[in-house]
Symmetry: C2
């Protein structure tokens, strides 16, 4: 599940049109279409609005939002999965040693 897919799912579950959701987010509907296809990224602030409009947990949306950015970064890499593992270790190590 990607962020775009989730947004489309939420929107359709409320029988809302792209035009209507786009208006609430104050963006054009062409842009929202691309967002739903993960061709463009929303601003992070928009996640707050979406969370409220659909009463859906913000943390979930944020994870999807970050994941999309990671995916964009590594999608053409043959060693994408391996790099993810390495990054995971770095994060775990970093957390354990962070000098606040």
């Amino acid at each position: 599940m990607t962020l775009g897919q989730k947004i489309k799912e939420l929107r359709e579950s409320k029988g809302m049109l792209q035009r209507q959701l786009a208006a609430k987010l104050e963006i054009g509907d062409g842009f929202l279409s691309k967002v739903e296809h993960d061709q463009k990224a929303l601003k992070r602030e928009h996640l707050n609005s979406i969370s409220k409009i659909f009463d859906y947990p913000l943390e979930e949306l944020e994870s999807l939002w970050i994941a999309t950015r990671i995916y964009e970064l590594v999608k053409d890499e043959q060693s994408a999965l391996n790099a993810l593992k390495v990054a995971e270790e770095q994060i775990k190590y970093g957390k354990a040693h962070a000098k606040v």
Copy 2:
């Protein structure tokens, strides 16, 4: 292990000075110092040179290089690890459904 740490390790294992390695890479030694501390990123092409200079597998260096970029992207995120998991799923799913 980060890319910077690995480069420093390789360099020192050959008793090479920053100045010497920097010259081979055609960059300044101030810049190399930052690279070894992961404060700046090398160009990807530089990995080829490093691989040859130290006879160290390029794929390993590339994984570290990508991992560093992922780390930069998520290091301040509370849900970094979760997002990584989500991205991993997206990659696996993407690979299975890629329309070459």
